[in-house]
């Protein structure tokens, strides 16, 4: 909060509420701002509402019979709350969904082709592919094998690369570190940082792995039970004692007494 945002944010979400099947309230008044060119993290535990927040922004809620029942989402000043998902991709929002979900029966090269916007020329697409293979040299080596047989890390890279083909200005990633070895998480996060710096792409990163996420983002939001409970710069969040206790596994040691204390506090928070 200390850092004042000068320009208009690329994305702003104001008191958004999401209903699934018209009955289940998944997020309850979430407000988030992503400043242009920044990397922002959305932290929180399982089922806190992080994925729902991303789906509200990308428009994928509809596919799961969810809808925004209150509040508004603005992207570069335009209200996109009710817009078709496809339209939002054209505007520059791309959502790397949870669980990698590459097109398994297509090769990495075809995965990239599949994501190409309708108007993109062949030479433009080739240039875009080369750029992506430069960011992810491992993919270049396996560009013609079946994507279903790639390793978890390679699939995550492919999922990110596939999103980059749509030429987003806001890249949203849902748990890219899920199930990956720490050295791979470091590699992928390093590449994300590079993309953010070289292309000026804004990034909204959803993570349970708060430790890794807070290393690369400038600001973070903490979501619990469908509400934003904390917001601040990465440095402020890292030094916050609650965050340290609950999400970073640090703090004043982890003896049994403290663990009991923390679950009691956690109940209070929610």
């Amino acid at each position: 909060m200390e850092k004042k945002v000068e320009a208009q944010p690329i994305l702003s979400m104001n008191s958004v509420e999401v209903l699934y099947d018209n009955v289940m309230l998944a997020i309850k008044g979430v407000s988030i701002q992503v400043p242009k060119g920044e990397m922002i993290a959305l932290l929180g535990s399982n089922g806190a509402g992080k994925s729902t927040t991303l789906k509200a922004i990308s428009g994928l809620l509809k596919a799961e019979r969810g809808r925004v029942s209150r509040g508004e989402i603005k992207f570069e000043g335009t209200d996109i709350t009710e817009m078709l998902a496809q339209k939002r991709v054209e505007m520059g929002i791309c959502h790397v969904i949870e669980g990698r979900r590459v097109f398994e029966h297509l090769t990495p090269d075809e995965n990239l082709t599949a994501a190409a916007p309708m108007g993109m020329s062949r030479s433009e697409l080739d240039r875009e592919k080369e750029k992506i293979y430069n960011y992810f040299p491992r993919l270049a080596e396996r560009r013609n094998s079946l994507s279903g047989y790639l390793s978890g890390g390679e699939q995550q890279m492919l999922a990110i690369g596939r999103a980059l083909v749509t030429q987003p200005t806001l890249l949203m990633l849902d748990e890219p570190s899920l199930g990956l070895a720490p050295f791979l998480v470091a590699e992928i996060f390093g590449i994300l940082q590079k993309i953010n710096q070289e292309e000026g792409m804004s990034v909204l990163l959803v993570e349970q792995n708060a430790l890794a996420a807070l290393e690369i983002v400038s600001e973070g939001y903490l979501i619990e039970n469908g509400r934003v409970v904390m917001n601040g710069t990465a440095a402020a969040l890292k030094s916050n004692s609650d965050i340290q206790e609950f999400y970073l596994g640090g703090g004043e040691g982890t003896d049994f007494h403290n663990v009991k204390h923390y679950s009691r506090r956690k109940r209070w928070l929610s």
């Binding site: 990308s58 994928l60 596919a63 799961e64 019979r65 998902a85 496809q86 991709v89 054209e90 791309c94 959502h95 790397v96 969904i97 979900r101 590459v102 097109f103 398994e104 029966h105 297509l106 075809e110 995965n111 082709t113 599949a114 994501a115 190409a116 916007p117 079946l146 279903g148 047989y149 390793s151 596939r162 999103a163 083909v165 749509t166």
Partner: protein, 295 residues
């Protein structure tokens, strides 16, 4: 054993089989995009044949014009089916979509019965009924033409699925959610697969209409077409072609051996046995996609 006769049975069986493939390619196209065997493919084939008849015999257009025009109309019909019926079912269980296609088949049969009646009409393509002699072998000309059409469509679709639009369709078949996430219009893709399958239905309707006459019985081709598609693997066009040839030969040669023993009707038994055994022994067929499991 009369080898010439056996060869003749095998070749004509293979040609008939390719005509089953011609039908099955339509099934595969829709299965690839929607993961549903389209039970209305027989109905579409029948409608395709009737539309050609309506344009040529009723409206007096020459066949070379009537057939492409019918293909165009059916292309639109395929898109329309997605827009009106299927789009509402997106994200619902597959069984719902399956039932919808069954309902559509019944609807199409009823509609043609109401408009054109149930009397069998002939297509009159102008292909001679004189058999072709290949040495000592008798070969049916219309079957040869149909087999050629099937192979041409096969080659055309192999090329198509390597194009950008084709790759997008394959992506949709793989994962709807991931397709939406990168801005692929799943709805338009599914619509396109129905449109293409409807065009294939015109080709199958014309050839089969010439062979057995145009009436509601054309929609029963579904049973053999489905057997071929299942044996080939439901989502493999190459599979549909090869399975068609296999089923055609099995049926023709097998029936020649079995019919004297059981007193006729063994063709249907062979088809049924192939369908049941495929599902029991090799559910994803000869060339079907199976779930990828990494170790």
């Amino acid at each position: 054993m009369d080898w010439v006769f056996l060869a003749e049975l095998a070749i004509n069986g293979a040609l008939t089989g390719l005509l089953y493939s011609l039908f099955a390619i339509g099934l595969v196209l829709i299965y690839k995009a929607s993961s549903v065997p389209n039970l209305a493919q027989g109905g579409l084939t029948m409608v395709g044949a009737y539309v050609v008849l309506a344009l040529s015999h009723d409206a007096g257009l020459p066949l070379w014009l009537a057939i492409p025009l019918a293909a165009l109309i059916m292309f639109g019909l395929g898109f329309g089916i997605e827009r009106v019926a299927l789009r509402r079912l997106a994200g619902r269980p597959v069984i719902m979509i399956l039932m919808l296609t069954l309902g559509l088949d019944i609807f199409l049969r009823g509609t043609t019965l109401a408009i054109w009646g149930g009397t069998s009409r002939s297509m009159e393509l102008g292909v001679s009924y004189e058999p072709l002699f290949l040495g000592d072998l008798f070969i049916s000309r219309i079957h040869l033409v149909g087999a050629g059409v099937a192979i041409a469509l096969f080659v055309g679709f192999m090329v198509f699925f390597r194009s950008r639009t084709g790759i997008k369709l394959r992506a949709i078949a793989d994962d709807y959610m991931a397709s939406w996430s990168v801005g692929i219009s799943v709805e338009r893709g599914v619509g396109l697969s129905w449109a293409l399958a409807s065009v294939v239905a015109v080709a199958a309707g014309v050839i089969w209409g010439e062979i057995q006459g145009v009436d509601q019985a054309l929609s029963l081709l579904l049973l053999k077409g489905l057997t071929v598609a299942v044996l080939g693997g439901l989502d493999s066009i190459l599979g549909a072609v090869i399975a068609g040839i296999i089923l055609g030969i099995l049926e023709n040669v097998g029936a020649d051996f079995l019919d004297p023993l059981v007193g006729g009707g063994s063709r249907e038994l062979i088809v049924a046995a192939v369908l049941i055994l495929t599902v029991m022994i090799r559910p994803h067929g000869l060339f079907g996609r199976h779930e990828i499991e990494r170790v």
